[in-house]
């Protein structure tokens, strides 16, 4: 898997936005690269390094420091479930277990058999007054309950295009 021509163009434009040019462009560039597969491979990291004219060891060092960069396959819909204190005080741990169960994985390292879901426990997401909460598909979901989790999962299963039918987006 390598970067799409569109991604390459976007990455090449990035350095002009920053005073120090290519170094500051590393993370936005890795964002673009991560869009391709949902996670970063050594090849993608090397390609980003090449485009920004940086050492690939350096880029890898950055990519492994930050938790929003993934290095293993993730589900199409990833549950970033907060289990820090305010959410734990309101039942977050049981909800993580429930989510794992419902998407049919046994740990936070796995992707569901249908490829649709994975679950990650994350630190405080800054929405503690809505605890327990999580981030899903770039959106915060508040006041989680098992029923709410079930509904979010079901909605995503239902919106899956049936095999062989063409789909957009």
């Amino acid at each position: 898997m390598s970067l799409s021509p569109h991604a390459v163009e976007e990455i090449k434009e990035l350095p002009t936005r920053f005073p120090a040019q290519s170094r500051s462009a590393v993370m936005p560039a890795l964002d673009i690269a991560q869009e391709e597969l949902g996670y970063l491979t050594p090849e993608l990291i090397k390609e980003v390094a090449g485009l920004l004219d940086l050492d690939s060891g350096y880029v890898e060092g950055v990519a492994t420091f930050y938790s929003l960069f993934h290095h293993k396959p993730v589900g199409k819909h990833r549950f970033y479930m907060c289990t820090n204190l305010s959410c734990s005080l309101r039942g977050a741990e049981d909800l993580v277990k429930h989510a794992l169960d419902q998407v049919d994985v046994s740990t936070t390292d796995e992707v569901s058999p249908d490829g649709l879901f994975s679950v990650e426990e994350v630190e405080c997401l800054g929405a503690c007054e809505f605890a327990p909460m999580m981030r899903l598909d770039h959106k915060f979901e508040y006041d989680l309950t098992t029923e709410k989790l079930d509904a979010l999962i079901a909605a995503r299963r239902d919106s899956q295009p049936k095999k062989k039918k063409a789909s957009h987006g």
Binding site: P19, S86, E123, G126, C128, E129, K139
Partner: protein, 438 residues
């Protein structure tokens, strides 16, 4: 539209939240309808930069990011010589229990754009950066739209209000690392590096972003600056105590009836916030403890609810004002478990640069695991004590290490009995009580 859970609308000490809840406040038109950008206009067209700093000095404003440093003093450290300088807004908000910057951004993104413009003018910068945590997707979009609107209306850009003072603002996303909230780690991250704090000196005021003089300020601090320039420093200083002026936003979470982000004048007691605004304990429960300023502020027992909220009273009580994140725990929860969860956080988020933090955090996590699984002993209690002492007192490069130490120390000092039950008798009276209750 943002989902509001907290204070909004007029009230006796509603400064920042007075107009929250009004339709369209997040748009330029809505913000201008309530006097938005008047402070920036006044600063730019009628005041010198040092008069702006003086106005902020009169207000007594101290930073809301955690350290409570006087904002005007911070700005006055920036060298006066011409040359590239930066304002960097810290919108990384990741301190457990803290959500007030998110609340502000969702309600009034233009207030931050305005505050950054004013701060840039005050220190002689022409470029502001907002470092926003990567998980704030909606808030990023709202800010980007506000910046675009302000540029289009020529409130920022090459010639705001027809002046010759160019100011622009750019957003930069974080990627999930608590340490990026620490100001020098944030600068490393902004420069595209692993976020490991820098040793100081040089301080960011001399050598900050990309080696240039930089003032870093929290979201709430800069939004308060907008209010101060519009209404005057003296009007702001009427609120609060002698040393902690004004109001602050407290995000109250955990075991209360009405979690939310509440604005309150400094100096009133936590009881008013937690039992009044947030509704106190859930039916049948009793409050047990609260972290008054994010998880890094030493925990206090519920019998100290009458402690006033100003920074001096909190320091005297053995804690700190920190980020204004108030985490409340009731009697159905175990303090050892809570502390263990927080240590897991600090160990996970340690950048690994200093030995006590890198090694001590993981030791603490393993020790807590032993204690909670019933394998503990008094040796483990002694070990936790040594680890917390090692984390504190300037042995670490940044505040993360101290904070981890404070969690252990304060929870052990205040709730020693729970630690002994677990470590010495493999017993948790709290959870047994909770079970009996259920």
């Amino acid at each position: 539209m943002a989902e509001l859970r907290g204070d909004f609308g007029p009230g006796p000490d509603r400064v920042l939240t007075e107009h929250f809840g009004k339709d369209g406040l997040d748009t330029l038109a809505g913000y201008q309808k309530v006097g938005g950008y008047e402070g920036w206009k006044k600063a730019l067209t009628t005041m010198t930069p040092s008069e702006v700093i003086d106005e902020v000095r009169t207000s007594g404003l101290r930073g809301r990011g955690g350290a409570g440093f006087p904002t005007a003093t911070k700005w006055s450290f920036i060298p006066k010589e011409p040359g590239t300088k930066y304002i960097v807004c810290n919108a990384d908000e990741s301190e457990p229990g803290t959500s007030k910057d998110r609340y502000l951004l969702e309600n009034s993104p233009h207030a931050l754009v305005e505050g950054i413009a004013i701060a840039c003018y005050a220190i002689g910068a022409h470029q502001g950066w907002i470092y926003i945590r990567g998980e704030y997707d909606l808030q990023y979009q709202m800010l980007q739209r506000a910046i675009d609107e302000a540029r289009k209306a020529k409130l920022i850009g090459p010639s705001p209000f027809g002046s010759k003072y160019a100011v622009d603002i750019q957003l930069y996303r974080g990627h999930g690392a608590y340490i990026c909230g620490e100001e020098t780690a944030l600068l490393e991250s902004l420069e595209g590096k692993r976020a490991q704090p820098r040793s100081r000196p040089p301080f960011p005021a001399i050598k900050g972003a990309w080696g240039r003089p930089t003032a870093l300020n929290n979201v709430e601090t800069l939004i308060t600056v907008s209010w101060i320039l519009a209404h005057g420093g003296a009007a702001y200083a009427k609120f609060g105590t002698e040393k902690s002026k004004g109001t602050r936003l407290f995000s109250v979470s955990g075991n209360v009836q009405r979690p939310g982000v509440y604005e309150m004048e400094f100096g009133r007691p936590f009881r008013e916030l937690i039992e009044g605004k947030a509704g106190g304990a859930l039916p049948g429960r009793k409050l047990k403890a609260f972290w008054p300023g994010g998880s890094s502020a030493p925990v206090l027992p519920a019998d100290m609810l009458d402690t006033p909220t100003d920074l001096e009273s909190l320091a005297a009580a053995g804690s700190m004002g920190g980020s204004g994140g108030v985490i409340v725990m009731d009697d159905s929860h175990c303090m050892v478990k809570a502390a263990a969860r927080l240590l897991q956080f600090y160990a996970h988020e340690s950048c690994g640069k200093c030995t006590p933090c890198r090694v001590g955090g993981n030791w603490a996590v393993r020790t807590y695991a032993r204690i909670l699984s019933g394998q503990g002993s008094d040796v483990d209690l002694g070990l936790l004590d040594r680890v917390q002492a090692g984390l504190q007192g300037g042995r670490c490069l940044c505040g993360l290490g101290d904070a981890a130490g404070w969690v252990i120390e304060s929870s052990m000092n205040r709730f020693r009995q729970e630690y002994e039950e677990h470590a010495l008798h493999n017993n948790c009276s709290v959870e047994q009580g909770a079970l009996a209750h259920a």
